[in-house]
């Protein structure tokens, strides 16, 4: 079939063959299918979806468009974690060294912040000297030597996904469950994994605001991973408020170090332990989650995760001492205060994330640079009772100006107070899994 016939078939709800998908994506990669046909196809997929078989063929074509890690010579199982993104989600920084310290290999490849959400790479970049641009061979060597790495997505891994993502971004075709799933897994499965744990965020600070959408994405992700030979577990977790207290790059690294030191906010610790337990089970280190939690808790209390993080930071050129004292810090702070007595009924967490981006903690345009020092400390969160004048949120900033005023106004506007407490939402909402 010609590209136009393939688009028409998808438009009309048909199913494309493996051969057609492979040759279409190869022709796109090699410039024989133009962007305008791929844009029309992505919009048709937005409306019509992809079958399991189509999605697998599509994702494999993305995956095989580039290089992969080769970890065959590294003993032990390799398991990674991916989060669909939220505000204050620094779990990867805690999880990877903690799990690696328990004997599961974590070949973590991460991206930059996207939209209103933070990115692991941007957080790590706040550590003086840290370099995430690892050659594939060095990433493999680190996984062998230290049990983990923090590598940046590069042109080498799934380059076709990179190009297609850029096209989807300007054609309003990002928000398609199968296209999201293929984009995530074409990169993650290039890590040569034995298992994958997915943290699918749900709520006002997530891309998926509604549980049913998050569930559909989680289902698609675990089924697709399993179809491609990788056992997968997904947790739907609450993102109707920032995770932990810190929002912003250096602030989040500092909070991750707190958690690795056996302190830190309970919700960050809880998500870390839940996801980590799944990773230990998939990694064959523990037979069941409860025992795995015990292993992780012991590693935390003994500081083994923190030791591992320091070793990794050092190996990647970073200043390991700075982790404890020496991260960038904004010189000033201003508090957003409650204008009345009440209970925090809800937080528009996406709005808060966008305010953080505006402050400089993320990018408005792809070419912007990120300010590692700025961010928020969330002092009061959903369900907390507050008095008029009490600080809700601390904004860490440089010299005041119109941008700061806008950030303060948006942050204040993100909080909604009420007379009665909202119903409690569990942190861990639902678990899904699939096996090859």
């Amino acid at each position: 079939m010609t590209p136009a016939e393939l688009i028409q078939a998808k438009r009309d709800g048909g199913v494309l063959s493996d051969v057609d998908i492979r040759s279409l994506l190869r022709d796109y990669a090699e410039g024989r299918v133009p962007d305008y046909q791929m844009a029309a196809l992505c919009m048709a997929i937005y409306f019509r979806g992809l079958s399991s078989a189509e999605l697998r063929a599509w994702t494999e074509a993305m995956l095989h468009s580039g290089a992969s890690l080769d970890l065959r010579r590294v003993p032990g199982k390799k398991v990674d974690k991916h989060s669909t993104g939220g505000v204050g989600d620094k779990v990867s920084l805690v999880l990877a060294p903690l799990v690696a310290s328990c004997g599961v290999r974590v070949p973590m490849v991460s991206g930059r912040g996207l939209g209103h959400t933070g990115g692991t790479l941007d957080k790590l970049a706040s550590i003086p000297g840290f370099c995430s641009a690892l050659p594939l061979r060095e990433a493999e060597a680190m996984v062998e030597d230290l049990g983990m790495c923090f590598a940046a997505q590069t042109e080498a891994l799934a380059p076709l996904d990179r190009r297609l993502y850029a096209l989807r971004d300007v054609t309003a075709t990002v928000a398609s469950v199968p296209l999201i799933a293929s984009s995530i897994l074409s990169k993650k499965l290039a890590e040569d994994l034995d298992g994958l744990v997915l943290d699918v965020k749900v709520g006002s600070g997530a891309f998926m605001k509604r549980p049913e959408d998050a569930r559909a994405l989680a289902r698609t992700l675990v089924d697709l991973a399993a179809a491609m030979g990788c056992p997968a577990v997904a947790w739907l977790t609450r993102m109707d408020r920032p995770l932990g207290q810190a929002v912003g790059n250096a602030l989040e690294v500092a909070e991750a170090v707190e958690v690795l030191s056996g302190r830190g906010p309970e919700d960050v610790r809880e998500v870390t332990l839940a996801l980590g337990a799944e990773m230990l089970c998939l990694g064959g280190v523990s037979p069941e989650p409860e025992q795995a939690r015990g292993l992780l808790a012991r590693a935390l209390s003994e500081g083994r995760g923190l030791d591992r993080l320091r070793a990794v930071v050092k190996r990647q050129g970073g200043d390991a001492q700075a982790l404890l004292a020496g991260l960038p810090r904004a010189p000033l702070h201003t508090d957003v205060r409650a204008t009345a007595d009440g209970v925090v009924a809800s937080i528009d967490t996406e709005a808060l994330g966008r305010a953080a981006v505006l402050l400089g903690a993320g990018r408005l345009r792809a070419e912007d640079s990120v300010d590692p020092a700025v961010g928020f400390t969330v002092l009061r969160t959903q369900g907390d009772r507050v008095r008029q004048g009490e600080a809700l949120l601390r904004v860490h900033h440089h010299a005041p100006g119109p941008v700061l005023s806008e950030v303060l106004a948006r942050a204040a506007g993100a909080y909604r107070l009420a007379d009665v407490a909202p119903p409690a939402v569990p942190l861990l909402l639902e678990r899904l899994e699939a096996h090859p």
Copy 2:
């Protein structure tokens, strides 16, 4: 809004403002919005449609992207007809000179064949010497001097539609009612009309196979024309079999001349009289259709339509004598015969049209040339009782070869015989109108 935001709004079922549509299409025309964004938008429109207001703004932007005929100095009303296309539809060739001979101006701008359907321009090109590439000023002068012209769509009229149509053609976004309507009317309303009659074909040989789809298109077309200030009447007409007996360019011109001579197939005459009556009414020459039919019938019997056609052909450089004897003619013919006794239950008229294209009567690719001499004579049509061995269809061709074998096989396959006659379908199905 940015183009990506506009695409997203349409994708989500929103309504775009006049200002947004105008600036988007202007930016597209001027190269600031790339094809891939327009392709994604067209696919979103395919699924979500356009509101009346959006459609009007969209069509006006197309219309104003180019020049228009200026017929203000020409006295009398100007009315044109457009057909959505079928197989054997030579009505324009009869209608324009016949209506012009009755005193309504017909500034007809036509296109080439599209897909399996024939085009007025290709038919006219079979007349030796005939030139349809008229400058706008000459088209205007002909409408003044002869009451009509047969002009080709050029780059000057609605160039943006031309570009967008080419994009839609390769992105499976042609079959969208609002985009079809805007494409038709952006060109037709560039003719400076006082009225428009639309022949919306329905059935196996039409783009719209189902009456409900044809009705939706007809409704959209007349409402849009009226919203843009032009009174419009649409007829849904039967296209479940070829119209008349002739399919192919010179064959159809010859059949049109037959009808203009008061002879020819009854169905061609009937559609011509029905549409012509509407044109005379819209053109203010007749107060009501029945009287208008009388005027047209008299003009036919007196040969005034044929005289007008000869004058027009001559003015456009063609050999008017050739109309009666001297049109290109294929040297050979082969008949497709009935393989059993029975009744012609149905004709896959699109398949027949595609067979004619393959024979050379149309284009497989845009750059192909058309053979004026080849085509079909339909000897038996839907509802006719036939005996085994009786000729159903005559194929006019050059030297036999594999192409002819394929054409014969396809033509034979398009006929379905049965024991009982199918229910009769009226030629004129339904009438719609709208006024500013």
